[in-house]
Symmetry: C2
């Protein structure tokens, strides 16, 4: 077990170059989204104070908010016990982390019968933000 004050980095090799990353609202504690970071995006996140992920579908750095303007200002960074997951506590600019326009990507709550209900109120209409291209 490593000791307080030692240097630490995520174990990127473990996940084939990626670590799973949770973004949580620093103020409210709401879990906003789950994404991935490679080493480059982790370093850029720490250096710039803005969340930078790695898009698995596009296979490139994903500077969160570069399109929508909804950047995430990183307040605190945590690494989990086995160093394959990162938790970012962030200030979510624009009030929405999700491309669907909700504050959190976890806007669907599963009901006991396997249906879902939408929780959270849409902050923007995705058609208006992403639909222009």
């Amino acid at each position: 077990m490593s000791e307080n004050g030692e240097t630490i980095r995520p174990d990127f090799a473990k996940g084939g170059g990626l670590v799973t990353t949770i973004a949580q609202d620093a103020q409210t504690g709401e879990v906003l989204m789950l994404a991935y970071m490679n080493e480059e995006s982790y370093d850029e996140t720490l250096a710039t104070g803005r969340a930078v992920y790695f898009s698995r579908s596009r296979q490139k750095l994903w500077r969160k908010g570069e399109e929508s303007g909804n950047v995430q200002l990183v307040k605190e960074v945590f690494i989990d016990c086995d160093r394959d997951a990162v938790l970012l506590k962030v200030e979510q600019i624009g009030g929405s982390a999700c491309h669907e326009g909700y504050p959190s990507c976890f806007f669907r709550k599963v009901t006991s019968d396997g249906h879902f209900e939408i929780v959270g109120k849409r902050v923007f209409d995705p058609k208006e933000v992403y639909g222009k291209k």
Copy 2:
């Protein structure tokens, strides 16, 4: 976009049979841990109201707390926008989700110079809980 009231399940196929799962303390909002669920563990979680994961290292169902007694009582279940991540809001029995004895697995906060400081107080000594075998 699916509508309120429809049935919903995680997209297990997308992640090779697994969905990434975040456990969050339902009361405090603290992010406790990150793990994986396969279809069987998801169904058992919903049916029993206790968090059941799939251990990638042991390649079998992992009924959280079966060894330590620190089970997680599931209060709410959420599925994210692209259905490859699940968020469980839980009551963590024993006050510790982490095998290291801390309340959360994210007990190491990265400092600006790349070192870390331990946040959170150990609830148990892992040697006493797991060290007897």
